[in-house]
Every structure is written in C-alpha cells, then in structure tokens.
C-alpha cells in the first residue's frame, strides 16, 4: 500500500506488533491524528508506604536483579551524554552477564558510543531496537539484517507519544544523571560530567514500571529542583563515571568559516526576514549543523536593523543562541538538550534559560507542544527530493547512520521550515529525484536553500509571495535537482534485499517509510 509520500509500505511492516495492540497505518499526511483521542498507558509501580532511608544499591548488577529484569523485557536509556555515554554499555553488559536475553532497547537515541551493542544484536541477545538515532556498528549490523525484529525509528516527539500511548512499554528505565540524592531526585548540573538537562528521560521516569537512576555524584537529599523526580525512582546506583565529560559536550560548537556555509546561512536569514513572521516576538530553532548554526550570526544585524527581538528560542541549545540572548535579543531559551559547554554553562547561571521535557518540546499527542508555536526552524538534510521529502537517516549506501531527532517534529509544527544544505557533497547529489528514505515528509518542508539557489514548496503560496515581494530569487526544486545531476551524474538506484530492517514512524505513529536490508554491491 502506498502512503501519502508515495512510499510502498509492505504488509510485513504494517503487521509489526505494538505492545498496546495498535494497528500500524501508512502515513496519511500532515496533521492526520489531530482531534482524535488516545488512552494513555500507565505503568505498574511498586508502593513504598513504609519509610526507608535510602534507595541506593551497591551496583548496577544488584539493580538489574532487584528490578526483576528477565527475558523478553524492554529497557530504556536517554542520550543526553551523547558520544560520551557509558551508561548503555555498562547496563547492557550486566544484563548480558546475567544471561538475560531477548532484550529490546528503547532509547531516546543511540550513537557510535554504543558499538558494543552491535555484538549483542549479532548474538541474538538484543532482539529489538527502538530509537531515534542509529549509527556506527549498530547501524551496520541492523542494515545487514542481523536484528531479529525491525528497528523502530522515531522522532523525539514521536517517542514520547509512543511511550504515552503504550506502543512501547518500558519495563525498566536506566537513567544516567550527573547528580542524584539517595531517593533518586536527579539533576543534570553540579556533577563530574554535566549534560545540562534530562529532558528526554522524563517520560521514561513516568511510564516505566521500574526506574533506576545511575549517577557518579551523590548529593544530599533533597536534590532540588529535580529533572527526574525521586517519587518515580525505585533504585539509585553510584558508579565511578557515568560518561566522558569531554564527549558529553563538545568544547564549543565551532562557528563555520566555510564561505559556502556562510553564504547559505546569510541567504536563510534574508529569507526569514522577508516573511511575515519575522517581527517583534518571533520564535526560532536551529539545528547544530554548520550552516544552520551560522544563521544565528546573520539574524543579529537584521534584528537590530528592524529593532525587533526574538521572544523565545528552543531546541538543542548551543552557545550562539545564548550569546544572542546576552545581547538582549532573545527573551527566553527553552532547552531540551545541550550541545556544547557554553549552553550548559548558560543554563547553570541564566534565569531565563529553562529546561523542558521532550513532551513539552515536541510530542504531537499532548495538548500543544512548543513546536506548535514555533515560527521558524532551520534544519539540515542528507538528501531532499523534488517532492521536498527529507532524508536524515540513511547514507548514500543505504546504511542506517543518522537520526530524525526533532527534525520531523519542528518541521510539522513550525510556520516556516527551512532546510539548508549544499547542492552536492562530493559526488552525492543532495537535491535528488527520490530520497533513499523519507524521514521528514515533504508536506512539512517549506523552503530549501542551497549554494546554487533556493526552492519554495509550491504549497506555500504565502511564502512565495513574500519572497517575490522582497525580490528574493527562487527556482522550482526540479531545477536544483537537474543542476545537481548535471554536475555529478544521475545516481543508480540502490539495491535492496526483501527483508525490512527498520520502520520509519511519522511522529503521529503512522509509517512514513521502511528501510530494507542492503545488498552488497558487485562491480
């Protein structure tokens, strides 16, 4: 059955069983589930009526045993420690050493720090993966069909919806936290390796049957105000290190000096300034990629010139937006994840820099997340096709190596979604006829800015009019694709086997696309 972005969704994918029995549907288009109802799935939690002094257990192994973790269960993790994370590998090693098998990992994201999990997949111990990001060895083994069930890939908002709706039930959540007290009140500041916020882990703490907080810095009770509330936590474990602080946050998200990136960023800022939403009190999010991040720098003079301010900025926070706020140009920063030391330092000291939960950020099934009030979002892409569909998950070889993250959430929510990407990367045409995998549907993407020109989604007549009025040149996206192919040649289609190795969920829980097992190329 073909879905609303023209992708064939096979029966094999539609038949995948969700925990709550919900039947998968193919993607139906933007806003499909609006106004419908969901019944939230509650966890089964233990009563702690008799006072105890402490929930601290001596080791992760003890916590795994105390939680009653057994074959077939689902465990969860968050990804605030990014490439510096030790928690996933430490916990999974204990689970495997205890001989527990048939485990599903439901993480907010996974990265190259988690290469050891690839081996557990090959051994058939880890049989399910539900995540946003999948990279490195894990992406490789999954793409080669080694995981027993198809991986389920979701946006950050889509994951919260899936947990709340009961598509996935978390048996035990393991939450790494920079600080915790003996009752599990956990914060992301004041420890050996701070990550700034714990936004993605909040839904795990509220919906998992058992919750374990793992920290390397125990602090006196009560560790307030907490990101993870002790009332939701069963056990606390102290370890030597939860992660490598140097990799948790990069020293600084470096501002690009690449003239191509800067030119594209300047054009994005000019396009934003030509739309009706660029007025006093506008709201904004950028991705952390080179050209997207550089947009901050070009917005500043335009804001000063017009005498306008941004009321709030959200998202993965980096130094440049904090810098803009210090100059008095941003009202509030609402933070779901920190990408650099500058952002973590800022939330530590700045009263107008707030932590929010992943649900508040991007959940499509709550009563209105921040993304629904967003004016502009500027995002990157691996590929964009002539229907404006975006791919951020599969490489040109068809192997899983990315993450939808907040891309589909902000793209659907924002009034104006701008993708900024060079026309070609090496021999790869970024603007192509058909993306390898659809991760953000074209009906949510409004403007595509490249180094060879700008294209506007023909559905957005209002933006076309605004750009025409401002004298900003734009071309049909087909022209950009043809220009790209004239430079690098027309790519051959990738060769796939039949097996579905991953399901790309739209944020509303319908199926946007599937990824199949790759066929090795033979010359």
């Amino acid at each position: 059955m073909k879905n609303a972005v023209g992708r064939e969704i096979p029966e094999e994918a539609l038949a995948v069983k969700l925990t709550n029995g919900r039947q998968y549907e193919p993607y139906q288009g933007k806003g499909y589930r609006d106004g419908k109802y969901i019944k939230k799935a509650g966890p089964t939690t233990k009563v702690y009526q008799k006072p105890i002094e402490s929930k601290i257990l001596p080791s992760i192994r003890d916590a795994v045993i105390a939680c009653g973790l057994k074959d077939g269960m689902t465990v969860s993790f968050h990804h605030h420690f990014r490439d510096g994370d030790y928690i996933v590998n430490m916990v999974m090693k204990e689970i495997v050493d205890l001989g527990i098998k048939d485990i599903t990992i439901a993480a907010s994201s996974l990265g190259s720090a988690h290469d050891p999990i690839a081996e557990y997949i090959e051994q058939g111990i880890v049989t399910g993966i539900q995540t946003s990001g999948i990279r490195g060895k894990m992406g490789d083994v999954v793409s080669h069909g080694k995981l027993k069930t198809p991986a389920i890939l979701r946006s950050h908002g889509g994951r919260v919806r899936a947990v709340e709706e009961g598509d996935v039930h978390i048996d035990v959540a393991f939450i790494g936290a920079p600080t915790s007290d003996e009752y599990g009140n956990a914060r992301a500041l004041g420890g050996k390796g701070d990550c700034g916020v714990l936004s993605y882990a909040v839904v795990d703490s509220e919906y998992a049957d058992k919750v374990v907080v793992i920290t390397d810095t125990l602090v006196p009770y009560p560790n307030f105000p907490p990101s993870i509330h002790g009332v939701n936590v069963d056990y606390v474990v102290k370890v030597d290190e939860i992660g490598n602080p140097k990799k948790i946050a990069s020293a600084a998200a470096r501002m690009t000096q690449n003239p191509r990136d800067l030119m594209m960023a300047e054009n994005v800022a000019k396009i934003m300034a030509a739309t009706p939403w660029f007025k006093d009190g506008f709201s904004f999010q950028t991705g952390a990629g080179g050209p997207s991040l550089a947009v901050n720098r070009f917005l500043e003079p335009l804001m000063v010139e017009r005498g306008i301010k941004m009321s709030w900025g959200i998202g993965g926070i980096t130094g440049p937006i904090c810098e803009l706020q210090r100059k008095g140009l941003v009202g509030k920063i609402i933070d779901v994840q920190d990408f650099d030391v500058a952002a973590i330092e800022d939330i530590r000291t700045n009263p107008n820099h707030y932590e929010m939960t992943a649900s508040e950020y991007a959940n499509p099934a709550n009563k209105g997340a921040f993304v629904n009030k967003l004016d502009f979002v500027v995002l990157a892409a691996l590929e964009v096709d002539i229907d404006f569909n975006v791919n951020v998950i599969t490489g040109s070889d068809g192997v899983l190596r990315g993450a939808p993250g907040g891309h589909p959430d902000t793209a659907e929510g924002a009034k104006c979604c701008v993708i900024v990407t060079p026309l070609t990367r090496g021999r790869m045409a970024t603007i192509c006829e058909h993306v390898v995998t659809v991760t953000t549907p074209g009906d949510c993407v409004d403007v595509v800015v490249t180094d060879y020109g700008t294209a506007v989604n023909p559905n957005r007549k209002d933006i076309i009019e605004a750009l025409d009025a401002a004298g900003i040149k734009h071309v049909p996206i087909k022209e950009l694709q043809e220009k790209a192919y004239s430079m690098v040649g027309r790519p051959d289609d990738l060769q796939w086997k039949d097996k579905v190795v991953a399901i790309l969920e739209a944020r509303d829980g319908t199926i946007l696309d599937v990824v199949r097992e790759i066929k090795p190329y033979e010359i």
Partner: protein, 103 residues
C-alpha cells in the same frame, strides 16, 4: 604508446580517485581491486568511464586498481590518462594528444 611499467595517478583525497595500471600481455582489462565511497550509486558509471578512457588510449590488456573517493567523471578521465602516460615511461616533450585520446 604502450604500458611498460606500473603507472599511478591521483590521491586518496575526497573527490579524487587513485588509478593504478599494471601492464599485462593478455587477459584484457582486469579490475584487481575496485573501491569507491559512492560505489552503490556510481560504481557502474565509474567502471564505464575507466574502460572508455582505456579504450581511447588503446590499452587492450592491463590490471587496474581503482580507489575512488567520489571523483567526478572529468577527474576519473584525467587520472586514467595520467596513469597511462606515467606507465608508458616515455618523454612526451609536451606533445600530448589534447582533445584526441586525452579528453
């Protein structure tokens, strides 16, 4: 003009291709190794470009090693031609066949 020794041209940089030609006396054109960072989408075209260039240069027999990092067709042609002339070990004194066998 014929291949006398191993001729190599190109680098392992991004957007370049390293081509190595080794003379053989029979067996036609044989790819000893063929690697590319974009093999899934452009492997067929890279191979065709290398074979067409060798044919133009009149190379009937050779072992060929291709190590590509996303080179465009013009680069592939240039590297094959250069590897060939290096392998021929003769002083051309600048008299290359521009626009003829060299495209």
């Amino acid at each position: 003009m014929e291949l006398k020794a191993v001729g190599t041209a190109g680098t392992l940089e991004s957007s370049d291709v390293m081509i190595t030609l080794e003379p053989t006396t029979s067996g036609g054109i044989v790819f000893d190794s063929f690697e590319s960072s974009v093999i899934n989408q452009y492997g067929r075209q890279i191979k065709a470009e290398v074979l067409a260039s060798l044919e133009r240069l009149g190379v009937k027999n050779a072992k060929v090693i291709v190590n590509d990092h996303g080179a465009l067709d013009c680069t592939i042609k240039a590297r094959v031609e250069c590897a060939f002339y290096r392998g021929c070990q003769c002083d051309m004194d600048g008299k290359f066949d521009w626009g003829g066998v060299i495209r």
